[in-house]
Amino acid sequence: MLEANLLRTLPHSVGSLTDMRELSIFGNQLQSLPDELGNCRSLTVLDAHHNELTSLPSSMASLGKLKSLYVQSNQLVGLSLLKQRVLDHLPLTNAALGANSFDLREAFEQPSARLGLAWNRGEPPAGPLCGVFTDNFATVDHLYDPASPGSRGAVLMVAFAAEGAGMRQWASPCAAVRGAGLALDTLYLADPSNSYYMQSPCGQWQGRSYYAELIERHSKHYDAVFIIGSSMGATGALLHATLGQRVLAFGPRVNLELTHGSFLPAAVRRACTDAVLGALSQTDARGAKVSVHVGKSSLDETLQARLVDHLPGVAVPAPANICV
């Protein structure tokens, strides 16, 4: 765990850590990774987002157990070459490549992996890869999915995804609701930079206004807006709680000091907490309702929930209290 330091290089001796399973070096100033990283044959997770990487070493093709690669918010280029020399040789289930400098004309799908490519440069070639946001592949950060194309439903559900590549995480409950007869339109959102919805596509910490504008653009035609999210997505849901009448948040990260938000500048972390508390403090006056659900066996979740459970209009029910 070397995240959120000022590391400019990683020592070559990292290659001697052949039993290392997970390497977290996000939030540093790394411009490259050593070739010796390829010797870490036990590595299953490489978390190197928010650095200054311009390329990944070809030796990474030797990482025969690497399942998750998080390299968002770097300066990576050469997507085709990266695919050919590295990605094609790895058993990846998740490859988060968003917010880099890849040319999306080189975009591709990786059938066995979730692949996030949003917030890169240019557009994919016209066709099946352009503007896609599915559970396995994304070149955009949002998808508006009306219940009946061409007509407006009764409710807009704004669904924030948790970390990683673009995922239609809430498609299952959405389908259940539609099956019950409610015309539920959905706006799926993801954060390709993995920054608790605090970063904008231009790389600045203006994510709040960016996503607010995105939501308002879609929600302005609706009287009923329902916002939902879990984990990082729950943070996004609470950040924008003023844009809906009902908010459902599972395990939100309110204080980013208590979670993996160390790579965000201190001012941004404070701004996130302040924005959440500010949005929730208006809940009661607006006649809205926010429900926060947490796993009670998780200490950090409980601590996060306690930051908001005193606010009027915010309920933190125990999971056991939910009746089927």
Binding site: R21, E22, K67, S231, G251, K296, L299, D300, A318, V324
Partner: protein
């Protein structure tokens, strides 16, 4: 105790490595602290520093502070979905929302559909 089979990979890519991650932490800290040599059993939680076990430790000593419940951060909606509660919960919230909107519309003389 949750098991890898309980992890729904559809919910978060992080889950694909969660089990490995916790196993790694336990093994690493176990080596570091050698808990089997710790004479005081209540200190053994030091060997398992992930929050679940620390929570369990807290629960054992201050049960009113943290109640043990076998859910972990990301898999809460997954657990609810598996027990059939997630859709019920979402429907309940939506019903509440629609009733509130309808009530507002009635008091202002508007319609009841929620559409503008």
């Amino acid at each position: 105790m949750y098991k890898p089979k309980d992890l729904n990979l559809d919910w978060s890519p992080r889950f694909s490595t969660l089990w490995d991650k916790i196993g790694w932490i336990r093994a690493n800290n176990g080596r570091k602290f050698e808990p089997w040599r710790v004479s005081k059993p209540f200190l053994r939680f030091l060997a398992y520093t992930d929050s679940r076990n620390f929570s369990r430790f807290l629960h054992q000593h201050w049960p009113e502070q943290v109640e043990y419940h076998d859910t972990f951060h990301h898999n809460l909606p997954m657990n609810l979905e598996r027990s059939g509660a997630l859709s019920v919960l979402v429907k309940r919230e939506l019903l509440s929302l629609l009733l509130a909107v309808a009530g507002t519309a009635q008091t202002t003389g508007g319609g009841t559909t929620g559409r503008k």
